[in-house]
Symmetry: C2
Subunit: 460 residues, 2 copies
């Protein structure tokens, strides 16, 4: 940028170059529908296009942006494209993007309250706001013994609460009880739970993924859970953690929180609710029923970066007992001590998460809530769900398709019988090779969002 | 923003509002020296300034920016201020900021190669570039059995390699050997290691932080390590992990990698090198000696977000055996399967880290390397080190101060004898209450950077 005398953070250089970058990004969105959604490159494509080593001399921003256009964007799978339907919605927004910019602009590292009080306090406040929109029980709010925290992903959310639960029981039973600890969830649960178990040293055979089927629409059966717990206790094992899911990844199944939660409570089991995807819908009164029973939970998670217009990463986790997290994850070295922390006057989020450092992620969620407001956000959710329902009708009326299961929320599973279409589709639609049922025919997981409806209609 | 018909990602709305945000951020940098570096707010200040709940109706960007100015910035501790000297350097830059913007603009979630090939491939290439600048041995590059990956923080870096090492030894000895596993480091090591042990289920008494003193300038003594290992083996314990540090947080001590590495190798111990802070200096040939012996290491970590002008978070981790990471951290649920992954043709970084989702973080490091170039980056590092040396001379010549230990790299530990100054200083300089030695007098950890030299000179 400047060859003599590096001025790494000159405000006028920042202004000039960042304006250029804004236009580049706005132009990307303007033309995003021209790209194939799924990148068409072959493995290793980029190494042939870039030099073997970093340059000795500075290059211009224009050089780099030209390379982004010519070499990077063809290798991008365009998650923000209106034609993107894979995995789950991950809608960015102007508000989310602005919040991310501001966070990068301030670029502080908010591990302790003292390292930027506003970062910690805004996070507490905004998660209280969101908790109230979801009508979470009061003991999840920061005004009591609990509170919310932004994790990077739902994987980290389930990991930290699993560790808190593990250490709570090991404090009673001794460390060598680790091998007896048992975790429960349905077989529709996200793989993040198994990974958390691996990390936390839970024996793989003690991570019990209970079978579901169409009789419960793939929800975890309370009877099956009760029986598994009794069986395990009778063989000397120690049930300690239950993960229920509201809107599973494979089928958007909704586990019955109230009955599961009562079983967990009766057995002294930590009850975590993973509503990473579907949780957003619960800001609408008519969909709040999906999380009825959340008052029985010890922890609750939803990803604002999925279906809540907040840029990745922003995974909101609430716990009822923040001390359980802190007892498991706190470190307090001499070089991090400060008066406010020592006096227990403040929250230090470093003790609620795996990493030490953390970004100012609450800004983007705050901006989404303020720049859109609750009513707009509810409309946005309702619009998606209505589109999904309309789409369900179109598919059901078309003999080329078979409806696989009822549509919860917006994820819609169906089979189609013309695998030859895949070659046409691969340029426009992302799809997985197989359903989670490993059927031999193909299945596409479609998730409707505001933009993509025209495309879906065209397709049908 | 728009009250009727939410258009969450309209390109012209993005353009208009993001240009406003650029000016807000550039103005922040223009006036950053007017803020007290350390936020002066009291715990709980923000709750009184913000409403109790999210708004029903949208607000304007100007509303929000006014609140950022009036309510958020006073609660920010300004890590990017030229007068900031706490903890460690964490310099943002125009290039780093632009990279973060672009990453937020593309907003893809790159857990597998297929979800955006460019994200995975650029990360591999840029970490090869950086590895070459640091003259890491070839087996850390992605062209062999190893490779680099961007983690969020050094805490996550040490955690993932500790898990890989743990699981490698447990595959041999069985899971119940966990209680016998022993970790070694010096007592100057970052608390992240202890946290990683807690998470991974290593017994706290088996995380052995060996004593250091001024005779080795607080570096870990190979003799002490050898003795500890022999003692532990003789009591039936299983040494499995050694963490050496290049530039410890408390004193920038540099552990002797070559001798430590040989001991580790002879005992089949995973050898991790944490150069989170000081690693950046090694792009200058004259400071490369700090990591001599890194060829003995199994893994090496440096934080580009500390002293390499890359916005937080960007922690670069290299390993020699990527399969050890993958064996420990891989999950492969049906809904993530795809042809490229199943055919083992690609890297899927989800299996190298704790979370599933991941941002396009290589963009910012790529932009730092390209927009500045190696020679500028070397000048930047050298300038900091020269400033630190000059400062050391000033302090040594002033009878109000006592030099505590020699200055490695740029962190400089000294004592001063006029604690009354603290009240004056608190407005301008962040400081910790005590040194890591818990001396009764005060100590300030000063870290020089380009901007702050005038302030340091004024101060002295």
């Amino acid at each position: 940028m400047e060859s003599k005398g590096l001025q790494p953070m000159d405000s006028e250089q920042l202004r000039e170059n960042a304006h250029k970058m804004v236009d580049f990004i706005a132009d990307y969105y303007k033309s995003i529908e021209n790209f194939p959604v799924l990148s068409q490159v072959e493995p290793g494509y980029l190494r042939e296009l870039l030099p073997d080593s970093a340059p000795n001399q500075p290059e211009t921003l224009q050089n780099v942006l030209d390379d982004v256009q010519a070499k990077i964007l063809p290798g991008v799978t365009h998650w923000q494209s209106p034609s993107y339907f894979a995995y789950y919605p991950s809608n960015s927004s102007v508000a989310g993007f602005l919040g991310e910019m501001l966070s990068a602009g301030i670029n502080m590292v908010g591990f302790s309250w003292i390292t930027s009080p506003a970062a910690t306090e805004l996070e507490m406040i905004v998660l209280d706001w969101l908790g109230k929109l979801l009508k979470l029980p009061e003991d999840f709010l920061s005004t009591g013994q609990g509170g919310g925290v932004i994790q990077g992903t739902a994987s980290e959310a389930v990991l930290v609460v699993l560790l808190a639960a593990r250490d709570r029981v090991l404090r009673k039973l001794g460390k060598n009880a680790l091998e007896k600890l048992v975790v429960y969830a349905s077989d529709q649960t996200h793989s993040a739970l198994q990974k958390a178990c691996q990390i936390g040293g839970i024996h793989p055979e003690n991570c019990k993924l209970l079978k579901t089927d169409s009789s419960t629409n793939y929800a975890l059966s309370p009877d099956l859970l009760s029986k598994a717990i009794s069986d395990d206790i009778s063989t000397g094992l120690v049930p300690f953690f239950l993960c229920a899911t509201v809107g599973t990844t494979s089928s958007t199944a909704v586990d019955p929180l109230l009955s599961l939660g009562k079983i967990a409570k009766n057995n002294g089991i930590w009850f975590h609710v993973d509503a990473a995807y579907a949780g957003s819908a619960c800001i609408c009164p008519e969909y709040r029923c999906y999380i009825d029973g959340v008052e029985e939970a010890d922890s609750f998670n939803m990803n604002a970066h999925k279906w809540f217009l907040t840029n990745f990463d922003c995974s909101a986790l609430w716990v009822k007992d923040r001390n359980a997290l802190i007892q498991s994850l706190s470190t307090n070295p001499e070089f991090l001590k400060n008066k406010a922390s020592q006096a227990n006057m403040v929250v230090d989020y470093k003790d609620w998460q795996i990493p030490l450092g953390r970004r100012f992620r609450s800004l983007k969620l705050w901006m989404v809530l303020r720049l859109y407001g609750l009513e707009n956000l509810q409309c946005y959710i309702r619009n998606h769900i209505n589109l999904a329902k309309y789409f369900e009708g179109l598919v059901a009326a078309d003999s080329r398709f078979e409806v696989d299961r009822p549509c919860y929320v917006c994820l819609y599973v169906f089979l189609f019988y013309t695998p030859d279409w895949t070659s046409d589709l691969s340029n426009t639609y992302l799809f997985t090779d197989k359903t989670f049922l490993t059927r031999s025919s193909y299945s596409i997981l479609f998730i409707c969002n505001t933009f993509n409806f025209t495309k879906l209609a065209d397709f049908c």
